[in-house]
Structures are given as C-alpha cells and as structure tokens.
Symmetry: C2
Subunit: 460 residues, 2 copies
C-alpha cells in the first residue's frame, strides 16, 4: 500500500503505475458518468484527487460517500496538466470500509477556532489543524536534532516533587488520598503519612534545577517534556499544561548562551520551513499574512543584544503614552516588548536585568544590582525564551536565597553543585507552545496544543 | 575550547596541536616532578589523560586537586603508544576554577547502587551512570528518529484528565484545593467547583485513547512522554513516574503491528550499539556479562509469533514444577515468560489472548473468545511491549465496554472514531525504562531513571 506522501515525493516513479491507497474522504463531486474524490490519508498535507467512473460496480454508493468516510482505492496514477494537482488516481476499485455517519460535525464549511476546540478529537482532520500539528511534530523533532547533534544529553527530569521550594502557589498538589472523604488528621494537621510518598507531593513547574545537576556531569544537557502549572489565568498565552525545553550548559557564560539561543532558534525555524513548505504556505495564506517572510527574515537577522537599562532609556524617550510606565527597576510590559522589537525591527535579547525582579539562581553581576539574565523578545510574540548565567558561587547563592526567602534545606543538593566542581554555566527555558504560536501565526495557545487544559476546561 | 569528544573523534587532526579543555578531575597521581590527571568533561564516556610537570607555577596546588574539582587546561595533544589512551594532553597551564570540597561523597572506590541512589544529584558523574544516562539519551533520540523517518506524527497527549475512565485506582489525583485545611463541602460531598478545573482531576496513565484520535487524522502517530501511575508496588520493575512510547497506526492489523514492533526495536538497539560502543562495552564488562552478544543476536533474530493458546500447550508439556499453573484462560507469570523465551532462544510475540484478561479496546477475534492483542517477550527482561489491533466496530466496542463495566459517556469522543471514518488500526505501548533495563543490563528501574519516584520515595 502506498501513502499520499510517497506519491507526491516520487511522482515521476508512480506515473502510469498501479497503486493502492487508503484514507478519508474530504469531498466528493459527481456527475452521471464520473466523479472526483479528494482524499487524505494523513501522511501529507495535500489531498489526492481520485477520478472514478460509472464502470465501477458500486458507482452509486461512491457518489453518496459522506465526509470522513474511510475508503481503500486501487488504480493508476495519471499525470495532469494542473500545477496544483500534478497527478491524479484513476480508480479501478473503491472499497468503502466505513461510511461516516451523516452527523459528522465538520461538514465542508469554515468553522471558528472556538467551535473546533469543542471537537478536539476531530479537529486534526481539518486543513488548519493538520498543518498546525504536523508543524508541532516537525518542530519537536528539530529541537531534539539540534541538541543531539551538538553533543547535548537528553535528561528526563522528574515531574513529581516533594520539595516545596519553588513556591507552591503555581504548583498542583498530587495525592493518592481519597478526596471524597475527610482528609486523615494527626496532631491537628492533615496526615500525609499514608499518601503514596508519605508526604505532601507536588508537580514541579520546571526541570532546571535537576537539569543543572546533570549538566555538571555531562557538560551540556537538555530537557523537553510537559510542565504543569496551576495558574488561574485565562489568557490567550497561558495553559496549565504545556511543553518546555530547558537546556543547561557548563562552561558557558551569558554571551555564550545568547549565541546558542540564536543558533537554536534559527535551526528550528529553518527545519520547519524546509520540511513543511505546504503547511507554512497554508498558514501564511489563512492564519497570518506575511508569516513566511517573517520567518525567512529571522534566519538572516542578527539578534540585537541590549541591556535592560538601555531598553528603558529607549522606552522613556519614545513619544508614547504608556499604559505601564517604563522603570529602570521594573519588568517590561507587553507594550514595551512590542515597541522594542519594532524599534529594532527584529529579535532582541534584553539582558542584565534588575536583580530584585529576577530569580535567586541568576548570576549577580559585578555591579551588585543586576543579574546576568536574558529574555529573547521576538516581533509579534514577545518573550519566547528566558535564560541566565547561573550563580556559581556558593556563598553568593546562599545569600540570595536568604534575601528572597527561599529555604535552603530542601535544595541542599542544588547548593552542593557549587561545592563539588562548580563552574560557570548557563541555561534557558523555551515554552514550546509560545514558539509554535510564533512559527504558525496562531494567536491562541489552545490551538497549538492537541488537548489544551486551562482553568475550568479539562474536556476529553 | 575543545571537548574531549572532539579530541577522540578527530584524533589525527589534533595530534601536536594546542587545545583548551575544561572539565572535572576524576583522579590525580603525582611524583616529585610530574603528574597525571584523568579528566572528564561529560562530552564523552572516556577520560582525557593530562600530563603536567613541575614547570607549572601552581604545580603543588595541582598535585593537591580533589576529585570533582573543575579545571581549565591549555596544552598540546601528544600521541602515545597506548591503545586504550591513544593520546594525552601535555599541559602548559592548568587553571583551578573550583577546588571540590573534600567532603565530596564519591571518592575513588566502588559504591553500591543503593548508596548511589542517595546521591542521585552526583551519581551521573560515575562511570556507570555516565554510561546509563548517555544510553538513555541516545535511545530516546533513536525512538524519535525511527518514527519521524517513517512518517509518524509526534503527538503530545495530555497528562491531566477529568475522565475517570481508566479506573482511578492507579491514577493520581491532582488538585489546587488546600490540602492543609478541611476540604470544601456541598450537599454532603467534597465540592470541587473551586478546584482549578471545576471538577475532580486526575493524571492519566496512558495517552493511547487520545493518540487514536490523532491516528485517525494523520494515519500514523506516536507519543513519547512521562506517565504517572500511583501503584503502591515496591518492585525492581515498578516506578510511579516513567516514560512511555505509544504509537498508533491506521490501516494496520495485528500482523502489520508485529512487523513494526520488531523493526522498531531492532532500530533502537542498533542505534545504541552504533553510537555508544564505549558505554555498551562498559555495561557488558561491569553490569551484565554477555550484554553485547545478547543485543547483537537480537538484530539477527526473527521474532517468533505464537498464539497464547499454543504457549500454554508448551508450558503444560514442560517438565517443570510451576509455581503458577499455566491456564488457557490465564495470564503468563514471570516464570512462564522466562521459559518461553528460553524455549525459543529469542524474542517471542505472544498473540491472541483470552479476552477476559485483556482490555476492552482490543479487537475481538472471529472466535469470540480471544482478542487480537500481542505481548513481546524478550530473553532476560520478559514483556517489554504490549499492543493490539483496536476494536474498530462501534457496536462490538460498546458491548465490550458494557461487559467490562466501562462507562461510555466520558469516552463518547473515543467511540465517535468508530462512527466517523473507522478503520482497522493497531498500536502498542513500550515502557521506556523496561527497554533501557534490557539494553543496559541494569536490574533495578531506579537505576535507569535520573530521579526515580517510588512509594515513600520522592527525594530531591
């Protein structure tokens, strides 16, 4: 049996030969003596056009095929003069394996993305989600390829943790206790001794700290896996379950990190452009006009590198009425991110941030006021990567933890990295779905995740 | 800066040239006038030998280097006559970046695997875990490579679910409710309306059902991600967090599935043998004698395919005192699995199982008694893959669900696949850690997972 991808990729070979393909009906048109079926088997973005005539004994049944019916077709590949459809399949037999029920909800018309989320089990059969989820797969593999071919070791850091060190506010609790009954008590507190791990357990929101331990053994590592955060925020860019990439690199400072981030992002975008030309053309046409140009331009651009302080200077000088006033000791608002990428007309690394608004593990700069953190802002999507050089000095790190109210004891193993072979090292985190939104032009994170989980929404 | 891998892979190029490497001290030996350092930078399994002399101004400090100290070495690569160590680095300077504290727990002696689990943040620096976790990374990438190069789409199925359809016994509950206080009540029951998803949420133990929905759009898909199961079982082969691979293939029956499983397993084993020769040699020598031969033999073998019924025949005829009596309507015990792989002296597909001991979604065979399920048994590890042709007939599937007490309503979307373009399709699940135990020879699942989670054990 051949796939539609085989046929497209090896057209010359298949012309005038007999093939067998199986797939799903997208459309059927017929006249009295012949008809056309657009069929897709999932192997390729484009459909295969099938021509059938009334010499087939089940001609009348074929004419009545419903959308999404399953058929198995034998016939001959014939060249056409149509550029969009360079060949078609002249059917010798069409077996109807499953006639789709007429209640099939995706009839041939445009559906809103909101509606399609209610049929998440069927939406990958539409052109849009066929493109989106194929790009997702290709981008995911590109991420693995980049790191594996550059000597990184893939590490699966744990999802379950009992260390409440990241602040449990954004962490889900995980339990085997029966939540339909009153919780067991001991000494006036909930008794977790019969919970599976014998204590309170959480889902961690990051693999960075565990990743660092492996970077001190393998030099360069990366994680790539699902991340669960319990934020109760209903926005277009937040989901409670998403995938994250977190590389950690030993013997690498902030400049080295930015080199890697830039190289990495360009590689992934290039892979998608190379491997998904049909899907990108579709997204360019129907999702975000100018998408392809935006991505191509990214490949040729040199990302700007600028201190947070200098960004604030630019924002303050700008002739704008800011909703949020730019401050030297403050974060960047969405409007600032947008302005600065437009100002430089391309991706911008904003580095050396005021230490009080960044995490305790970021390397404190010699000025004592800023940390060697860096956010990458891209046009149209804002921040897509956040990274830093990590504090490698034991005493400074402990002091920072005290300053920020982080308990040391549960992180003794993280601190020990600074006692046993500490080194200058850096890492970053990439929200995979943010990257996909940038690459596909989709505006809602719910539309780049197969089955999105957001507050009050956990269907399927 | 060069990596040790660079030096090993391009030895000829580097002989008599100057290089700079950074890494961690494994051992130091010295005499009055010169000394040797074995250094590793994580890029490669083997160490780099560094020769240093007393012309270096910090000679005495170098002699006092502790294990796991971080050093940066400049010098010249010089050829040796030693096969194991074909070159060495003659140091011109050695910068001591971080002198490891003398309390470093992994001094140069053999440690038990049990002890090493208590220093999980440091154990990847040992030879054993350097080999194990590098193989883990290479095997993971091989899995992606296999599916991507064979036209599969990678799908990230959700971890969070609100459908209690798999039986919540093995499912963790996930909540944002405050477990340190009494649970909110309404009408005499726990009130989940203020929980993040507005209802009771779980962690799913499999992505198969969601995977099937995407296979009906893309033809061939695979998942590869962490799986959490709350089993309270303390064995060498159970962990509460592990990684699973779950491909689903449309237009594929049980025979086609076995072809894929065999091809897939051989590909992954071959990739590891090709890319990790040093690591496999190490495991063969120190973890499991005969490992390399076992793996090489697998590549050349044709996996036996035999019905469950015929396996029971063989077991019944065997001259053994079984602890568990082989039964035509029963499962295979570990002792049976062992016997049957030894009997055939290689991997064995056991297929067509009695339906009452298998899942509701497996295709019922024409005999009405068995289902088209298949387990792959391999010598020394027992079952490592379990798969089946899926029931594609709507009515049969519904009947099976009723028979086995599975609620239909929460799975309406799964059932709809049988209404809208149903097709003959199959899939399997592979426990990634079971595969790693087979490939490395490690006997405890805790030793192939970076940070294992098992009952009453959630450290780090």
């Amino acid at each position: 049996m051949e796939t539609i991808k085989d046929l497209y990729k090896n057209q010359e070979k298949y012309i005038n030969t007999d093939v067998e393909v199986a797939g799903w009906v997208r459309t059927v048109r017929d006249s009295k003596t012949f008809g056309f079926i657009e069929m897709n088997d999932g192997s390729f973005f484009n459909n295969l056009q099938i021509v059938f005539g009334n010499e087939l004994e089940n001609f009348s049944e074929i004419c009545k095929l419903t959308i999404s019916s399953t058929i198995i077709v034998k016939g001959t590949i014939v060249k056409t003069e149509n550029a969009k459809q360079p060949f078609e399949l002249h059917a010798k037999s069409i077996e109807i394996f499953n006639l789709s029920d007429s209640s099939y909800p995706l009839q041939k018309k445009r559906h809103s993305f909101e509606y399609l989320r209610t049929v998440a089990h069927l939406r990958p059969r539409t052109n849009t989600f066929s493109a989106i989820f194929r790009i997702r797969s290709v981008a995911a593999f590109a991420i693995h390829e980049y790191f594996q071919s550059n000597g990184y070791v893939y590490v699966n850091t744990p999802i379950i943790t009992c260390a409440d060190c990241e602040g449990s506010a954004e962490m889900f609790k995980l339990t085997t206790l029966d939540l339909d009954k009153p919780l067991p008590q001991k000494d006036g507190k909930t008794d977790f001794s019969n919970d599976l791990f014998g204590k309170k357990a959480y889902i961690t929101g990051s693999g960075q700290l565990h990743g660092e331990t492996f970077a001190s053994a393998f030099g360069k590592i990366y994680t790539f896996g699902p991340t669960l955060r319990s934020e109760d925020s209903n926005t277009k860019t937040h989901a409670n379950e998403f995938w994250m990439v977190e590389p950690e690199i030993s013997f690498c400072d902030l400049d080295g990190l930015m080199d890697i981030e830039e190289d990495f992002l360009k590689f992934v975008v290039k892979e998608v452009l190379d491997k998904c030309p049909e899907e990108i053309d579709f997204c360019d046409k129907f999702i975000q006009n100018g998408l392809k140009e935006k991505l191509t331009k990214l490949l040729d651009s040199n990302f700007v590198r600028i201190d947070h302080h200098d960004v604030i200077d630019i924002l303050k000088k700008a002739d704008r009425n800011w909703e949020f006033k730019p401050e030297y000791d403050g974060d960047l608002a969405k409007e600032h991110e947008k302005y600065i990428t437009e100002y430089f007309n391309g991706p911008v690394f904003v580095k050396n941030w005021p230490k009080d608004i960044k995490s305790y593990y970021m390397k404190v700069n010699p000025d004592g006021k800023t940390v060697a953190g860096v956010d990458l802002e891209v046009p149209g999507a804002g921040e897509i990567m956040g990274g830093s050089q990590r504090e490698e000095n034991y005493d400074t790190l402990v002091a920072r933890m005290k300053e920020m109210g982080i308990a040391e004891e549960p992180l003794y193993w993280y601190l020990e990295l600074r006692k046993y072979g500490s080194n200058i090292h850096s890492g970053f985190g990439l929200g995979f779905e943010r990257l996909l939104m940038y690459i596909t032009g989709m505006e809602n994170i719910r539309d780049v995740i197969p089955y999105p989980r957001t507050p009050n929404n956990c269907d399927f």
